[in-house]
Amino acid sequence: MTRPVLDVRDLTKVYGTGEATVHALAGVSATVERGDYVAIMGSSGSGKSTLMNILGALDVPSSGTYHLDGVDVSKLADRQLALARNRLIGFIFQAFNLIPRTTAAANVELPLAYAGVKPRERRRRALEALDVVGLADRARHEPNQLSGGQQQRVAVARALVTEPALLLADEPTGNLDSRSTDDVLNVFDQLSTAGRTIVLITHEPEVGARTKRLIRLVDGRIVEDTRQSPINRPPVGPHAGRHAVSTVQWAGGART
């Protein structure tokens, strides 16, 4: 197998100083291979969002190393970091984070514009990406004219339009009702089938159950890492049961 898409070692993140110190991450190590579909689960305050922000190069760890597609992200300067966010990562937020008063197509085009793609090519690829998430007919709508599920699918289109090595989703269904959740998860299943590497955060068990691998985080440590279905097969889809326990890896500092 080629180098892993994602390789973190002993990541820690400390917020605050003195009395108010909070160890959001207390040494997390993990690798994600190409084509995997990983869910990170954990209760509120378990550090999963902090981990996600570091993986998305939106935040920097207090210590530890982070290799993204073989590149040591912690050593990158601002400009190269921007390039890495643009080319290697597609980030999907819980709050969608579309640019307001800007059409869906323009939102999807945005990362391509920052990548220096020509306008004509940009438009074509944006419409393709919108087609993948089933919103080609909504290209000219602005975010406030779209439902939550549609907005999130626009955000997914925006994340995958640059064909990044890694799709990161921070509770992508957290703000959605069950039908919209289904829409978005179906898109993820499709993308996984097409060979994309996806890492998502969730606290909903049914979302976690559809992924190929499940990581549980408690108090900033990985306590469980379960392979739910083979990495080179399509994901099991919406009717997945909890049939896992093929491989249990204890990574990071396991609790005694």
Partner: protein
């Protein structure tokens, strides 16, 4: 990413918030226009004042008595006035006009009109005092020496006494004597509260005979050959008068306002200088008000720019998360701020230029070019600085902090 693309982003950013962009521009517009107009009004009124004073004539001096009325030793007499016409002692004097004046009632066919100043003088007065005759003719030196009872009336008098009638050659009664109207003075702009057109001018000899008697003169109007020689004329006049009135030479200074001299010399250019000083003070005052309004306007611009950029910190976070380099974001916001302040400022200048073509509180504004540069420069500098500063701060934030910004 090309510069052109960044400009398009900036334009899209502005048009995404049309109302806010318009209001920001309006704020800048009003600030710039107010400063330019305020300074223009101050400048315009100063100019109006100096124009009016220049209309009085700048190459004349007026000699007035400061003595108590009736004291023969200090009064100005016709002899003194004649003595001033002296090619040896006073070579720079062009003309000397002795002046008496009194208030009088002019009657024509049962209509009375009270004239504030019924002036008796010599023909040279018309030119010296910058009071040309509009229609008809002035009286001549011959009229004066013969004591003929002729009169030149002002516009107001003509309108009061001769509505719709040509006053020339009509007979009016003044102080019980008949005067023949020979001319009407040209319309003159008023310099003060008094109506400069409510006047009548007659030969000195006739006025003395009928109205004032043969006492002292009210004043002597001395005209210099050119405005440059006013000071020379003034010293020549004082020399002659001092001789006549037995005043020691040391008591008279150039401005002739020393209380020891029994006369006072008023100089139109001195008046002009005083008034210009006053006008300058006025302009300075308005300039200070304008500076304060520019400051307030600047704070307004600062506020709007800060709010605009701060409100979009989240958007900056999104853009960074999508891989926008810091410089691209900064450029976009700087272009937005530049467009807002330049367009707003240009519209402000246009508004001020349009506004200055109208009279404002009775003053015709005169634009000061440097005020345009100053107002425009300050507002653009403020717009750029306070648009750029928060944008660069936000662009330097880690994306996650920008995204979390409320």
């Amino acid at each position: 990413m090309t510069f052109y693309e960044v400009v398009r982003f900036a334009l899209r950013g502005l048009s995404a918030n049309k109302l806010r962009s318009a209001l920001t521009m309006l704020g800048i517009l009003i600030g710039v226009a107010a400063v330019i107009l305020l300074v223009a009004v101050g400048n315009g009124s100063a100019k109006a004042i100096s124009d009016r004073i220049e209309a009085l004539g700048t190459n004349t001096i007026t000699v007035m008595s400061t003595g108590r009325g009736g004291s023969s030793s200090t009064a100005l007499t016709k002899d003194m006035s004649d003595a001033l016409v002296d090619p040896v002692l006073a070579p720079d004097v062009r003309s000397v006009s002795p002046v008496v004046s009194a208030s009088a009632t002019i009657t024509f066919e049962g209509t009375d009109h009270d004239v504030n100043s019924f002036v008796g003088t010599t023909p040279g007065w018309f030119a010296a005092s910058n009071t040309p005759v509009g229609s008809g003719a002035g009286f001549t030196a011959d009229d004066e020496s013969q004591g003929r009872r002729v009169v030149v009336i002002g516009q107001t008098v003509a309108e009061e006494l001769f509505p719709g009638v040509d006053p020339i050659d009509k007979q009016v009664t003044v102080g019980g004597a008949l005067f023949t109207v020979v001319g009407v003075l040209a319309e003159k702009s008023s310099t003060g509260f008094q109506d400069a057109n409510d006047t009548a001018v007659a030969p000195l000899s006739a006025v003395r005979q009928v109205l004032t008697g043969y006492g002292a003169l009210n004043s002597i109007l001395v005209e210099a050959r050119s405005p440059d020689q006013v000071d020379a004329v003034q010293s020549e006049v004082s020399t002659i008068l001092n001789q006549r009135l037995n005043v020691t030479a040391t008591a008279t200074s150039a401005n002739g306002r020393q209380s020891t001299t029994p006369y006072r010399i008023q100089n139109a250019s001195q008046l002009l200088a005083t008034q210009t000083e006053t006008a300058d003070t006025f302009t300075t005052l308005l300039g200070a008000v304008a500076a304060i309004s520019l400051l307030v306007g600047g704070i307004g611009i600062t506020n709007i720019m800060l709010v605009t950029v701060t409100e979009r910190t989240r958007e900056i976070g999104i853009r960074k998360a999508l891989g926008a380099p810091r410089r691209t974001i900064l450029t976009q916001f700087l272009i937005e701020a530049t467009l807002l302040s330049v367009i707003g400022g240009a519209l402000g200048v246009a508004a001020a230029l349009i506004g200055s073509s109208f009279e404002i509180v009775g003053v015709k504004p005169v634009i000061v070019p440097s005020s345009i540069g100053l107002a425009l420069g300050v507002s653009i500098a403020i717009g750029l600085f306070f648009g750029g500063l928060p944008a660069s701060r936000a662009a330097r934030l880690r994306p996650i902090d920008a995204l979390r910004y409320e």
